[in-house]
């Protein structure tokens, strides 16, 4: 009782102090010697009451990827990279999630009331769903990364946004594709699906039925709200761990078919070499240190939590290692939180920098035992020569960051 009374007294007192501070104006020095309050306040507006905004002091933004303007002369969005250097945790905010479009595409402005999904082809019962009907079906919520096939680092890149920004991770909510396919009843021989969007090129990819039935999701939710238009509002396919292009946006139609359809999307990612085809399909084990990373500046020697992201299309990340000597020796990093299958996983490593030049690297192993290679290891495996030889398929090679004695951090790809 007594302690409650005293809490209340404290509250009344501090409340009175705050009120008088506001009345006198924020710039007034405190005569009592107490710490000053904030320099300014954010004016409440109807807009901010309705939908919040980040601080004006937080300016992290996406950038056009790969040197192509975005939007381009046609007003099309191409490839937009997420600011991984500023990321914390594993969720990419929807406004900062990377964007990739096939040869450029307009972002459709879709009224969800009018949007329909059709499932047809080799099924017993073709079906058409409204968005409301899809939301009546059993739902799942899962963390999944998406990564663009073009997320390939080179030595000209200066920041992690340039080297690795074409991947992001969000919490996705929707209906398992298997739920819908079972409802429609897949006929024998229906070994593939073609998933098609509404945009002007009506992008479509061929996906094997094994994948469709295993873990594909048709999502209406992203990070606790509706999927954003740039990410496929009102309905997006998530094909966990597959290259970005398979995650069809603005999904309107799913056709169950008997063969690989060689759609325009399929054609665009076609390979001549079976090794590249296999390595450019399901994303390999991959990680990158986001702090300290290229373009950042360490103030001086001392303690730092080295932090980064790891992910794999093969399952959950089971181990992350960090090297501070350019890959000669490795020590285990801590996995922060839970490592979810096909999701970005935050890792950290407690490190005291002695102020001498060094090279930081990270590598991960996934739950099925795939290990992230260095460029040299990947080349060596295929007997490719030259240090700069291209990593075949999806580039999942180790990213080196060099720290100079002045604390500046640089891309160390040779």
């Amino acid at each position: 009782m007594g302690s409650k009374k005293s809490d209340r007294r404290e509250f009344l007192k501090s409340g009175a102090a705050l009120a008088s501070g506001m009345a006198l104006g924020a710039a007034t020095k405190s005569a009592s010697g107490q710490l000053e309050g904030p320099e300014a306040f954010i004016q409440g507006t109807d807009e901010l009451v309705g939908y919040g905004k980040r601080s004006r002091f937080v300016t992290s933004e996406r950038i056009a990827h790969g040197g192509r303007p975005s939007p381009d002369a046609f007003g099309l969005d191409f490839h937009i990279a997420a600011p991984l250097q500023d990321s914390v945790g594993v969720i990419t905010p929807s406004s900062l999630h990377y964007v990739g479009t096939t040869r450029g595409a307009y972002v459709p402005d879709i009224d969800p009331e009018k949007h329909r999904l059709m499932i047809h082809g080799m099924v017993d019962r073709p079906l058409v769903f409204t968005m409301d009907e899809l939301k009546r079906l059993p739902s799942v919520t899962r963390l999944h990364f998406i990564e663009c096939a073009g997320n390939r680092a080179n030595r000209r890149h200066t920041t992690v946004q340039e080297t690795h920004g074409m991947t992001s991770c969000a919490e996705w909510t929707g209906v398992l594709l298997s739920t819908l396919l079972e409802e429609a009843g897949v006929r024998e021989g229906g070994d593939w699906i073609v998933v098609e969007g509404v945009e002007e090129v009506k992008g479509a990819s061929s996906i094997p039925m094994t994948k469709a039935m295993d873990d594909c999701l048709l999502c209406y939710g992203m990070n606790g709200e509706a999927v954003r238009p740039q990410q496929g509002f009102p309905l997006r396919l998530i094909a966990p761990g597959f290259e970005g292009i398979f995650n069809t946006k603005w999904v309107r139609r799913i056709k169950v078919v008997d063969q690989y359809y060689m759609t325009y999307n399929d054609f665009g990612h076609l390979n001549q070499d079976p090794v590249s085809a296999a390595l450019g399909y399901q994303i390999g084990p991959k990680s990158v240190i986001t702090y300290p990373s290229g373009g950042q500046q360490l103030p001086g020697p001392g303690f730092y939590e080295v932090s980064g992201l790891a992910w794999s299309g093969g399952g959950a990340v089971s181990r992350v290692e960090v090297s501070t000597d350019g890959g000669q020796t490795w020590v285990d990093a801590d996995i922060r939180g839970t490592a979810h299958p096909m999701a970005h996983t935050r890792f950290s490593f407690e490190w005291t920098w002695d102020g001498t030049p060094c090279e930081l690297q990270s590598r991960c192993t996934d739950e099925i035992g795939q290990l992230q290679p260095s460029r040299a290891q990947a080349s060596e495996f295929f007997n490719q020569s030259g240090r700069q030889s291209r990593v075949r398929g999806q580039d999942n090679s180790i990213q080196p960051w060099r720290i100079e004695s002045d604390g500046s951090v640089h891309n160390a790809i040779a």
């Binding site: 046609f74 047809h120 073709p126 759609t263 085809a277 093969g314």
Partner: protein, 193 residues
């Protein structure tokens, strides 16, 4: 691993068959409605490599060369299929090559099937007026692009729903199929990364 995969491959049709027969009579949730045959026809624009869905119609490269100008293709892709803002439509000028991949990632020369060319023109072109071309027009423009790339040599050759899938594209068998996919399988057998 090989044995495991083989077993899965053999079992899979059985598993899927069981799944189908168990639910053939009754859907579980009964949500959603059945589309009409007409709706399905109108929505279904996917054309397979074997061409079953191709609509009746026909065209020639000769007719396609006029449509290429009339429909605005030339405005974005260039009058000769190159030099425009939009992707190049004619093979790179590298002389005659043994490996057709050397001609570049250009749809009407690299695609293993002519059906992909037809499908993409039909669904995605012309920009801002997608889906407005008639089947005859799509057959003609497809024929013209194949003619520009020396895939067909006769500009009066008639392309239709029968002949189009039979076109022998130079890369017909010169491409790598993606591997069979199963959950928990490494990307490439024997590759540690």
């Amino acid at each position: 691993m090989v044995v495991f995969t083989m077993r899965l491959l053999k079992l899979l049709p059985l598993i899927m068959l069981l799944g189908v027969s168990a639910q053939a009579q009754s859907p579980i949730y009964g949500v959603g409605r059945t589309p009409t045959a007409e709706e399905i026809r109108a929505w279904d624009i996917a054309i397979s490599p074997t061409g079953e869905e191709l609509p009746e119609g026909s065209g020639t490269a000769d007719r396609g060369s006029q449509l290429y100008l009339e429909k605005g293709c030339a405005g974005c892709h260039g009058t000769t299929g190159e030099g425009g803002l939009a992707p190049r439509l004619v093979k790179r000028d590298v002389g005659v090559r043994e490996d057709p991949w050397d001609y570049g990632r250009i749809l009407p020369i690299r695609s293993p099937y002519a059906t992909t060319v037809w499908d993409f023109i039909n669904r995605a072109m012309p920009l801002n007026a997608e889906g407005t071309l008639t089947p005859d027009e799509v057959y003609s423009i497809t024929a013209y692009l194949l003619y520009l790339n020396d895939v067909i040599e006769d500009d009066l050759m008639v392309l239709d729903e029968e002949s189009l899938p039979k076109i022998e594209m130079p890369n017909r068998d010169n491409w790598a199929q993606v591997p069979d996919w199963f959950p928990g399988q490494p990307r490439l057998e024997g590759y540690p990364y």
